[in-house]
Point group: C2
Chain length 292, copies 2
């Protein structure tokens, strides 16, 4: 019988698979698949994966997909907890040192949150320790960026986002979009963020537990800042006193993102901001990078 | 502010992630995760994955998980089409050359199919080109293995398994379990297998199409052969004249698994086997390896 071409050969398994791709396939897809298949086969070979371990992997990935819902993205959580999300961000954003750093988006972002005037309070349920957030959006030379969109979202003082507690928290609680003024300034009122556990009742939670890793994220607020002509920044601020700063399960903490929360005793400022005196305040400035 | 330990560092991202694993975690799990995280990060870096490509990957994996049902395992199909299933089999089964080769299980195996006496017909709908399958189960020295279980399943002449056509095909059509006699012999009647497309209306089908790879598996019958004291063999036989032999999307073809289908004109044998003369026949012998 004549030799049949393209049959599996364990010694060059990744090449056999990659040689099946059509020369007419999209070159970028060919490139990515080539790399993925090569590393996938190398990992299986290097770890000498058994049939039972392979099946456990199949089951894990299946359950991860089936845990995803309209408001929960377990594969993003997996990517986050394996440091992949931070790596993808790092290789795609080579920012000047002074520019605001990116960090993970996280699984609780919801687009189209309400637009508010500067100074508005996003804590719709009136719970938590009030905090005044103020800052400016600038370019790399310190010039104000007017009309920038500053989108914010955070968990409440119990450590849950509104979408995790539908019917318990008001819709859009602790979420909103603000627009920078002519001088680049923006401000809003919220509550001091608190550490919380990422959703850990699913496959990713079980993985973390098996690895002896905790699920608790250090206290943070999320931001997406965008303006025409500038790279969009997806970031957090962290509270400096959180005991979980060095254990973030999604590797989102950067030194540059640890904010300085201050207690301010200033009756005039408090009255102007419609907040009770004394109050906590944090300055959060965003330095954007022009789109190249 | 004192330096915080364990923060993300793009230059050594995989190490940062792996250093988070507890020394108390299961050593084998630590080993596997260490290898997986290292290759995952290396692949992302090497292919310079963009944020959009990362999101496309998240969506692909999510859809793959959500395409899985009680009778369809899209992640196994993905593993099969990327040559991973064959690789895992190869590194776990270092068999003597004369022993029966393994190949992929495939997504359509259903446990607990009916037990039949040797010679029974598994084509419950009477469709297709009849074929007599006969063979022996032996050990490495050619001694008969009595009481071995020979489990068989295949698609019908339209290229569908019973579980893909519930209500159209009879339940358990073209599936059954046989037991080898004292001399190691077994036999059954079925129909000649035909090539068919793997399920390609899901994420894996879209992937194959984008890669310019076809979904058609060459014609085959599936077998699982097991006996106490021997390694279980999961395998196929392929028809030698199938035009798709060199393009199996799951890389299951091995030269040793291409069977010799013969047309037999023998009225006595036909009558004995309750098959019309002339008829097609194929000998399928299984040489098992003792459990080490």
């Amino acid at each position: 019988m004549p030799k049949i071409q393209g049959l599996f050969d364990a010694a060059r398994s990744a090449e056999i698979v990659n040689e099946r791709m059509s020369p007419q396939a999209d070159p970028r897809l060919r490139e990515i698949m080539g790399v993925v298949v090569r590393h996938l086969h190398a990992a299986i070979r290097e770890a000498s994966i058994t049939t039972e371990e392979w099946m456990a992997g199949i089951t894990f990935l299946t359950e991860t997909g089936q845990t995803c819902t309209d408001w929960r993205q377990e594969f993003i959580l997996l990517s986050d907890t394996l440091g992949v999300s931070m790596l993808v961000d790092a290789i795609n954003h080579d920012r000047p040192e002074s520019a605001t750093d990116n960090t993970v988006l996280g699984p609780f972002y919801v687009p189209q949150s309400p637009h508010y005037a500067n100074g508005a309070d996003i804590a719709l349920d009136g719970k938590g320790e009030p905090v005044l957030v103020e800052g400016r959006v600038t370019d790399g030379e310190g010039n104000p960026v007017a009309g920038a969109s500053i989108e914010v979202w955070q968990a409440n003082e119990d450590g849950f986002y509104d979408v995790q507690q539908k019917g318990i928290q008001p819709e859009w609680n602790l979420r909103g979009q603000f627009t920078s003024e002519a001088d680049g300034a923006y401000s809003f009122r919220s509550v001091k963020p608190r550490h919380y556990a990422i959703p850990h009742d699913g496959p990713v939670g079980r993985m973390l537990e098996a690895l002896g890793r905790g699920p608790v994220r250090p206290a943070h607020m999320h931001f997406i800042v965008m303006a025409p002509g500038f790279d969009t920044v997806t970031t957090h601020i962290f509270t400096p006193d959180c005991p979980y700063l060095s254990q973030d399960p999604v590797f989102g903490v950067k030194e540059s993102l640890i904010a300085d929360f201050k207690v301010i005793d200033d009756a005039d400022r408090a009255a102007k901001a419609s907040i009770s005196n004394p109050f906590q305040a944090v300055r959060v400035n965003f330095e954007l990078v022009r789109t190249s």
